[in-house]
């Protein structure tokens, strides 16, 4: 057992920014704990880790952790991260994004990073809403939910983030939840160790902007909902279509072995007769 709080103190930035900005019961803090445990487990030093984040509640994570941290523009975290990785392949880059950040404004960068198989770890914190700006619906808000811009209920089919990135060619895809916080850190350490583009979707309660409006109860209730509706992937696959309802699979969903972009690029350098630093 890694003790989260004890471990956290090693990684939190030593200034007066605590308690953090996230609301009471918000799952992002749990996810941040899982991330830190995962990094601790991989054994990388703080200097070897770069944490890139987008803009949003989730995006604030980069402020708190004592790595090389970059808080980018909304939706563009993967582009910045791509530049860092290509410039210095030695660095381990984790990209933290909200669901809106990653799949609304940032959707294009997400699908192309999958396609290129850039060796980054994307941690998408999916709270089914735009938290930071006050609860507008996001591309992952389920149908017929309420949001500050959907008082009559949403009418757009949500993305299944894991399916989307799988279709676009991500090397490693996993999903966990704040209820499954231990599984989450296991997935994350696998993802960080993985060569190639990995995506971990962390379902995370936003009790304030999503939960309250949609009568999902307290943070605790929302976590219990994750518990009740999640299944392992093999179990999930056995459910006859049509009976799936709100259930969803957690765990590793995709794990491919393909050369990543940099491996392929080094071939180019060779062909050109160049020398890669």
């Amino acid at each position: 057992m890694i003790h989260t709080s004890e471990t956290m103190y090693k990684y939190l930035r030593p200034d007066k920014k605590f308690p953090h900005v996230w609301c009471a019961g918000c799952g992002i803090g749990i996810v941040m704990g899982a991330l830190v445990r995962a990094i601790e487990r991989t054994g990388f030093t703080k200097d070897e880790i770069v944490l890139v984040s987008g803009i949003g509640c989730s995006g604030r994570m980069s402020t708190y952790l004592d790595f090389n941290t970059l808080h980018t523009t909304h939706g563009r975290a993967l582009s910045f991260a791509t530049g860092i990785k290509l410039a210095n392949p030695e660095l381990n880059i984790i990209v933290v994004m909200g669901d809106g950040d990653a799949t609304a404004i940032g959707g294009n960068h997400l699908i192309h990073t999958c396609r290129r198989n850039i060796d980054l770890t994307a941690l998408i914190i999916n709270n089914n809403i735009y938290g930071m700006t006050g609860g507008q619906y996001s591309p992952t808000t389920p149908m017929e939910c309420k949001a500050s811009t959907a008082q009559y209920g949403t009418i757009e089919k949500p993305f299944d983030i894991c399916k989307l990135v799988e279709a676009c060619g991500a090397s490693f895809v996993a999903r966990s939840t704040t209820y499954h916080a231990k599984m989450l850190d296991a997935m994350l350490s696998r993802a960080i160790d993985k060569k190639g583009f990995s995506v971990v979707e962390a379902l995370s309660q936003c009790p304030v902007q999503y939960g309250r409006r949609n009568k999902k109860g307290s943070a605790v209730d929302m976590m219990m909902w994750y518990k009740d509706n999640s299944l392992s992937n093999p179990a999930f696959k056995k459910i006859p279509p049509g009976e799936v309802g709100e259930q969803f699979p957690v765990g590793i969903l995709v794990d491919l072995d393909e050369p990543d972009y940099l491996e392929r690029y080094s071939q180019i350098v060779k062909k050109a007769g160049g020398d890669r630093l």
Partner: protein, 376 residues
Amino acid sequence: MKRHKDLLLHGNEACAMGALAAGMRLFAGYPITPSTEIAEFLSVELPKVGGTFIQMEDEISSMGAIIGASLAGVKSMTATSGPGFSLMQENLGFAAMAEIPCVLVNVMRGGPSTGMPTRPSQGDVMQSRWGTHGAHPIIVLSPQSVLECYTLTIHAFNLAEKYRSPVIMLMDGIVGHMWENVQLPEKIEVIDRPEPSVPPDWYNPYDNLPGGEIVPLVPFGEGYRYHVTGMVHDKSGYPTLIHEEVEQCLDKLIYKIKNNLHDIIRIEEYMLEDADICIVAHGSVARSAREAVNIARNEGLKVGLLRPITLWPFPRFHLENISKKVKLFVVPEMNYGQVYGEVLKSCPKRAVRVTRVDGELVTPAQIMEKIEGAAL
């Protein structure tokens, strides 16, 4: 001059070669006429020197990638034209705010909108200064020749590193797409990112050092862990809303440029000593202007030329000095009068413009017409 030792280069090619000479080792871009040759050239040449070329999915991500690369310690560049330049504005503002050195080449084509992709223009002069929200100071250079496409690109990287700022190479479509003989300088000055002068624990990447000294940006991964954000930040890089810190953060962006105008601003003066009329022109139009000066001098008219090589910060003080001596400014441009607007700020009553927007270079004859009109 042993011209036969010259190279025959394309403007875009010269720009790309300049970047390589300056040590640029990561290029991220998205094709767009008339800048594409820069990407094409670098896609071949960068791998040869172990550098990275990547074609991104759009201009937004291209700009993001070069900022990331620079943070990782690699000199980086992108190249685009108007529509892509518009899309880069948000991330360009980020680079300015977070003080990340990088170079952005805009080979200007006829606008607005899709406009005239294959026709040259100087329509983005004001945009290069004011295109992003919550304006920030910026350095913008304008080459007049293929040689300057090379030398000024090197200069752009030097300024970027020296002032921890994005620098824009604003090339008009003529200069970018022209072939010309050039003699590359044998020695060039290349400024690399300085080492930090303090150990990690003392490092504040956004400190206000006495005398306006600029804190070196330490690449990610070298033991200096810090935070970078596009939010208004304190000296250690964390978001802040404390009034004094906010002002310090924003003022510094202004002052690091303002306090170094003498170093940043380059101009060229031609026959200005005794001039009554001063043409103000940059880029390829400056060449028309120089020809016009020669013609005018032949006709006995006292005409000279001020060529801003650094477009922004605009050489206002040079202009004001000159304005004490000359009677009239003539400002020819391939737009409706953008530099003209800046000239107005110094001499509102004594400036006329020569504009051309049909996708052709202003001719010496057009300039002469205004000069002769005024001289009468």
